[in-house]
């Protein structure tokens, strides 16, 4: 706001937000040990170093000030409002992962394809990495829509609370496959080629399991070796790989082929998680179930990690009552779940409150009255 008069769009959105915060109780564990940051119409974090005595006071503050963005520190502090940072008394931090929709031409109105893709990434992060590899239990994990175009996964576990920046970066690097040296997985001894067993941990085991699974696919098998068209040869190779022996049938150019298949499988989340966010032990991150001033959507937490059936444009709407007359300030595409049909620039229409909030926050529409 910075002293300037508030536009009517902002005033309307703030009114909606204030109502939301006064009517909904949002859980914020250890609120008294967190630093909060609030954002406004033009900036996601306008004020930071905010501290609150507890959850109830936080909710009262949110209802009163109706910030357009609410972030909180992944860190726990003794004095959350102290400055500079070194005086806050860092006590530990949750481990967090930030996944964003990939860069795509859809731009401002993130398309369904992009939203689905980032959702699949989040599922992969949880099911292929956090649960099996890192051994976290489901109760230690929580996932929420970011309110924009991605997902956040939070890990609350005493085991990782104290890890420093460089240890956290190692975790992010593992998930992204950064520094992964494929050649270390295999070693040759004359004609023999030894490699990982499917029972191994890490990328070796992941690769072996996926490779064995794909050998059942004829096309894949043929790309490895023509000999695999004979069922007995394939069975022989498969049982050898179980023991870590990757070539008992004489495969031409075997190391090159394996490497290509490894790349093809996309076992890592390279480029899909923001390693800087995970490494940052003082990061301010969107508060789950708070509202996002860039979309009017809720950064909804997803119960029991059931991301599969979650459709953000439908399920993260915060305003389900009433309607509002708005005027499209630009050409607006159809956005499944929230904008049922295209709106050409200049069109005036009375639309459901959630759609209105979405377009006002996107600055794609203005109030019509």
């Amino acid at each position: 706001m910075a002293g300037e008069a508030m536009g009517k769009e902002e005033a309307h959105v703030r009114k909606l937000f204030s109502k939301y915060y006064s009517e909904n109780k949002i859980a914020m564990p250890s609120a008294h040990m967190r630093e909060f940051g609030f954002g406004g119409w033009d900036k996601k974090i306008e004020f930071r170093h905010i501290a609150v005595p507890g959850e109830a006071e936080l909710m009262a503050k949110l209802a009163l000030e109706a910030p357009l963005y609410v972030s909180y520190s992944v860190a726990y502090y003794q004095f959350p409002s102290a400055r500079p940072m070194v005086r806050k008394g860092w006590r530990g931090a949750d481990l967090v992962f930030d996944l964003d929709a990939p860069e795509h031409s859809c731009g401002k109105f993130t398309c369904q394809e992009c939203l689905d893709k980032v959702k699949q990434d989040a599922i992969k992060l949880i099911e292929d990495f956090l649960l099996p590899d890192f051994g976290f239990s489901k109760s230690e994990l929580s996932a929420n829509f970011s309110g924009g175009r991605g997902y956040h996964v939070h890990v609350k576990s005493q085991a990782v609370e104290q890890l420093d920046r460089s240890a956290r970066r190692e975790i992010a690097d593992y998930i992204a496959g950064t520094g992964l040296d494929f050649d270390r997985l295999f070693w040759e001894d004359g004609k023999k080629l030894f490699g990982p067993k499917p029972s191994d941990g890490g990328y070796g085991g992941k690769f072996a399991r996926e490779y064995l699974r794909r050998l059942d696919d004829e096309e894949f098998a043929q790309q490895i070796s023509r000999k695999l068209s004979k069922p007995e040869e394939k069975a022989r190779l498969k049982s050898a790989i179980q023991q870590g022996n990757w070539d008992n049938i004489g495969i031409a150019n075997r190391k090159r082929k394996l490497r290509e298949k490894f790349e093809e499988m996309r076992l890592t989340l390279a480029g899909r998680i923001d390693a800087n966010v995970t490494a940052d032990i003082t990061k301010l991150i969107r508060m789950p179930n708070s509202l996002h001033g860039g979309s009017g959507l809720c950064a909804k937490s997803i119960p029991s990690l059931k991301l599969d059936g979650f459709e953000p444009m439908r399920d993260a709407q915060a305003f389900r009552q009433g309607s509002l007359k708005i005027k499209a300030a630009e050409s607006i595409p159809e956005v499944p779940g929230i904008v049922p049909e295209k709106m050409p620039a200049g069109k005036i229409a009375e639309v459901p409150q959630a759609q209105a909030a979405y377009l006002l926050c996107k600055k794609a529409a203005v109030l019509a009255d």
Binding site: R83, P84, M85, V86, R87, P132, D133, F134, G135, F136, A159, V160, Q162, L163, D164, R165, S166, A167, E170, I171, D173, Y174, G177, T178, G179, L180, D181, R184, D200, G201, G202, Y203, G204, G205, D280, T282, K283
Partner: protein, 322 residues
């Protein structure tokens, strides 16, 4: 007897501490002399010589170890503490290596004492990743991406287990020093003597009369000059600042010369890289989020800092620089 052998080899364990308390430690001139010798070896050669393992000598070793801790605390030099911790860890590693063959149970006991919950596996040991990460070097060999990780545990080889224990020993010793206490006169004198043999820091490397260096940059320079370990991000920020402040590569490399892990080649390469890439200086809020901001001078960006403006304000507001 077995106990005494273990304790003299691994004097940093809780078991050794109990043992030393049981025996009771006297401050004889012989013990102080041997402690000084141990510290000198650590500071100058970076290693500590083993002694004959006969009962009297082993009992004395425990007293010598405790005395070393007092002397080094009295001397209170971060450089010395760092060097000493490395040397003690190396000494422990030599015993671990020989115990691996003759007394593997000693390795289990040291690991357990350090809180390293290794679990025996078919082809090595399993260690929870949150214990693995803080005690492994940042190298491709130890990179988590290249390791077998399942159910929260990393597979480590037998020899790697000893490397991890060595690092845990170093960290335990370094973080437990200095002890704060009033030491007897003999100890204080020994502390002064040991400070006297430390390599003289060249005052030329640190010129703080560059008045307009902001508090965060001055802190980084001081830490480097004191041979304290400055985190990577701090070194990068410092190099970017100095490049932007118009210093030559030679001059910048000189600032880094006292870092415990200084390498002329690597430092020079990195400084040249910073210059070639034209990195921009991080803003104050970014510096703060990196934990590098030490004063609320409100200059916006360390490059904007002017002693005559921001420094005066800091003083006027009575703000203490940490």
């Amino acid at each position: 007897m077995e106990d005494l052998l273990f304790c003299s080899r691994y004097p940093f364990t809780r078991k050794a501490k109990e043992c030393a308390e049981r025996i009771g430690i006297g401050l004889s001139s012989s013990v102080i002399e041997k402690a000084e010798k141990r510290l000198r070896e650590a500071a100058v050669e970076g290693r500590i010589r083993k002694v004959a393992e006969i009962p009297e000598a082993m009992r004395e070793e425990l007293a010598v170890y405790a005395t070393c801790r007092m002397i080094i605390s009295s001397a209170s030099s971060r450089y010395l503490i760092g060097r000493y911790a490395v040397a003690e860890a190396k000494r422990a590693r030599e015993y671990l290596d020989s115990d691996e063959l003759s007394k593997p149970e000693n390795i289990d006991a040291v690991a357990e004492d350090l809180g390293l919950a290794f679990e025996k596996a078919e082809d090595g040991f399993l260690l929870p990743f949150w214990l693995y990460l803080p005690f492994t070097p940042r190298s491709l060999d130890y990179k988590l991406s290249n390791r077998q990780l399942a159910a929260g545990k990393v597979l480590v080889k037998r020899s790697e287990r000893r490397r991890i224990i060595e690092e845990a020993v170093r960290i335990r010793i370094e973080s437990s020093l200095p002890i704060k206490a009033d030491f007897p006169k003999e100890i204080q004198e020994a502390g002064k003597r040991i400070l006297g043999i430390l390599p003289k820091l060249e005052a030329s490397a640190l010129r703080l009369d560059e008045r307009d260096y902001p508090p965060c940059i001055r802190k980084l320079l001081e830490d480097l000059a004191m041979n304290a370990n400055v985190p990577h991000i701090g070194r990068v920020a410092l190099a970017i600042y100095l490049v932007n402040a118009g210093l030559s590569d030679d001059k910048i490399v000189d600032f880094f010369r006292h870092a415990p892990d200084f390498s002329e080649k690597i430092t020079r390469y990195q400084v040249e890289h910073v210059r070639a890439k034209k990195y921009r200086m991080a803003s104050c809020s970014t510096m703060d989020s990196w934990g590098l901001c030490v004063a609320d001078c409100r200059c916006g960006n360390p490059l904007n800092y002017k002693e005559s403006v921001h420094g005066k304000r800091l003083k006027a507001e009575g703000k203490k620089v940490e």
